[in-house]
């Protein structure tokens, strides 16, 4: 049984209210027969097609080359097993849902004037397996494959969308500010999967960060990933109750790596997986730098608390879990 899930506007499938702590970062999940199920590809390699459509300044061949490089970034993660295969050019469009082809290409969506690109899925609702995924890149915007100053970098945006393509949700490792004309502007970010793109000419998101690597490795773990990495678990509490959807960042005191996660139930429980063994500091903040509906399909998100450091240093072991601890936050 297959059901199409449209997830335009940056994979709004996202996570529904879950009963148990899920992983770090967000894995796109569905509730199937009462169970929260992370969606992922069961086949490997994942075949993808490149659209023959072009855009001003980017030929179809240039598009294919840039997207292929973006797939390569995810495929090169040594602790993950996800693999891709370029299947050729196609005249099929990304908007052609449920055609059995995973197509990436340019499309014009002038009505979506804040959406650079988006990913859609066809999911097997019995197993949660992704059976088709398409990505469009909106020609309402200017694109470049060279990092040209006046255009958005195609490879950077493709790297983000391919994160969705393999089942990853958004990361909140970033800071934004409101713009006078509406919307938000990124001040800084530390994850390709942050939902708001860097500006024109910026190629930063061509390179995966520790947060992205932990995410893909957790979804598609290589054999030594689980025994070589550990889990940080705890709860976010406010006035004696749990906080749902608080953003939790684990900071490695040894490497400086940041990996984010969320408290994912009413008890405020979180679990950040895929951490290199070592000592971590923990910081909790409300999910107030982005639109929360690009993370959670749940109205009960609590953002009325102040950013808080845990007063507990956490030792994360290899192949296991650190002892659980509470981070108590205060209302704003």
């Amino acid at each position: 049984m297959k059901r199409h899930l449209l997830a335009w506007a940056l994979a709004l499938v996202a996570v529904v209210a879950v009963a148990t702590p899920a992983s770090a970062y967000l894995q796109l999940s569905l509730t199937l027969r009462g169970q929260v199920t992370a969606i992922k590809w069961n086949q490997s390699p994942v075949r993808w097609f490149s659209s023959t459509a072009s855009a001003p300044g980017v030929t179809a061949a240039q598009f294919q080359s840039a997207v292929n490089a973006a797939f390569g970034s995810w495929e090169a993660v040594p602790t993950a097993t996800v693999a891709f295969q370029y299947a050729g050019f196609t005249s099929a469009r990304p908007a052609d849902d449920n055609d059995g082809l995973s197509v990436l290409g340019f499309e014009s969506h002038p009505d979506m004037d804040r959406t650079l690109a988006a990913t859609g899925f066809t999911i097997d609702v019995v197993s949660g397996a992704i059976v088709e995924s398409d990505i469009f890149f909106n020609t309402t915007f200017d694109w470049s494959t060279s990092g040209a100053a006046g255009a958005f970098d195609l490879q950077s945006v493709a790297t983000h969308e391919i994160g969705h393509f393999i089942g990853l949700g958004h990361s909140a490792l970033g800071e934004t500010e409101m713009q006078a004309g509406g919307g938000r502007r990124v001040i800084a970010a530390r994850s390709v999967m942050f939902p708001i793109a860097f500006g024109r000419g910026n190629t930063t998101d061509r390179t995966l960060t520790p947060d992205d690597i932990a995410g893909v490795s957790n979804s598609y773990p290589a054999g030594d990933f689980a025994p070589d990495t550990g889990v940080l678990v705890g709860r976010v509490r406010l006035g004696g109750r749990g906080v749902f959807a608080a953003h939790v960042a684990a900071f490695s005191l040894r490497t400086g790596d940041l990996v984010g996660g969320f408290s994912l139930n009413g008890e405020g429980e979180f679990a950040i997986r895929g951490l290199a063994p070592g000592l971590y500091a923990v910081r909790v903040e409300p999910l107030d730098d982005v639109d929360t509906d690009s993370f959670f399909d749940d109205p009960g998100i609590d953002t009325n608390f102040r950013a808080t450091f845990s007063d507990h240093l956490v030792a994360v072991p290899a192949g296991g879990s650190a002892a659980s601890f509470d981070v108590t936050v205060q209302s704003k």
């Binding site: 970010a189 400086g256 070592g278 910081r283 903040e285 808080t308 507990h312 240093l313």
Partner: protein, 230 residues
């Protein structure tokens, strides 16, 4: 002829008579040196600065320059230590030694300068530190008279850092140089005292373990204790 007889007489007179030698008491032989030294002590290990590190994001500009989310400053607190030592005296001056030192310092990280004004905190955990080292000490004065005898020492070994709940154990290399004073107790006639007091001052250089990523971290250690010899 007369001269030869006198010389012979003198030579004979100079030789001890076997009968006479057997009648005299055997001179006391010096006692065998005590070579094994066992010591126990306690003291104080200074703090270790493990460095500062910023948690950074990448700024939204073409250079991707760092944006500081917050700052961290990590250190190992000063702590009391206990120490056991086993030595083997190769010569009156040179002793090879193996020692184990145990302490429970706090590992502390100051988290501050938050981009969203989180209240600065001092995050911490308690660590159990074991250092097992081998080395040598050289006494600058020989003999075992009742006096303070200075020595120098040096060595290296393994540091094991056991984090709270024993979920994580990190290992590093610990080298040291130092010196101190030994004061013998008991008989002053033996070449090695039966017991004594030993004071150590050492500079330790820690690499790895909780200092992984912080380079080589120095700290001072002062200990005092007693020893016995066998």
């Amino acid at each position: 002829m007369t001269r030869l007889i006198l010389v012979a007489g003198a030579l004979l007179a100079g030789l001890p008579s076997p009968a006479v030698a057997q009648a005299r008491p055997t001179p006391a032989r010096p006692p065998a040196p005590r070579r094994i030294e066992l010591a126990i002590g306690a003291g104080f290990a200074g703090g270790v600065t493990l460095g500062t590190r910023d948690a950074t994001l990448q700024s939204n500009n073409t250079s991707g320059s760092p944006f500081r989310l917050f700052s961290s400053d990590t250190r190992l607190s000063p702590a009391a230590v206990v120490e056991g030592r086993l030595g083997y005296r190769l010569t009156p001056r040179l002793t090879i030694e193996a020692a184990m030192t145990v302490g429970r310092p706090d590992l502390m990280t100051s988290l501050s300068a938050d981009a969203e004004n989180a209240v600065p905190v001092e995050a911490r955990e308690t660590l159990t530190e074991y250092v097992v080292a081998g080395g040598a000490s050289w006494r600058l004065l020989s003999g075992a008279r009742r006096r303070w005898t200075p020595f120098v020492s040096g060595g290296a070994g393994l540091a094991r850092h056991v984090h709270e709940d024993r979920v994580l154990i990190e290992s590093g290399i610990d080298g040291y140089v130092g010196g101190g004073l030994i004061y013998p107790l008991g008989s002053a006639r033996t070449t090695t005292p039966r017991s004594g007091v030993r004071l150590d001052a050492r500079l330790h250089l820690l690499s790895g373990g909780v200092a992984d990523g912080a380079g080589v971290s120095p700290r001072g250690v002062l200990t005092g204790g007693v020893f016995v010899t066998f």
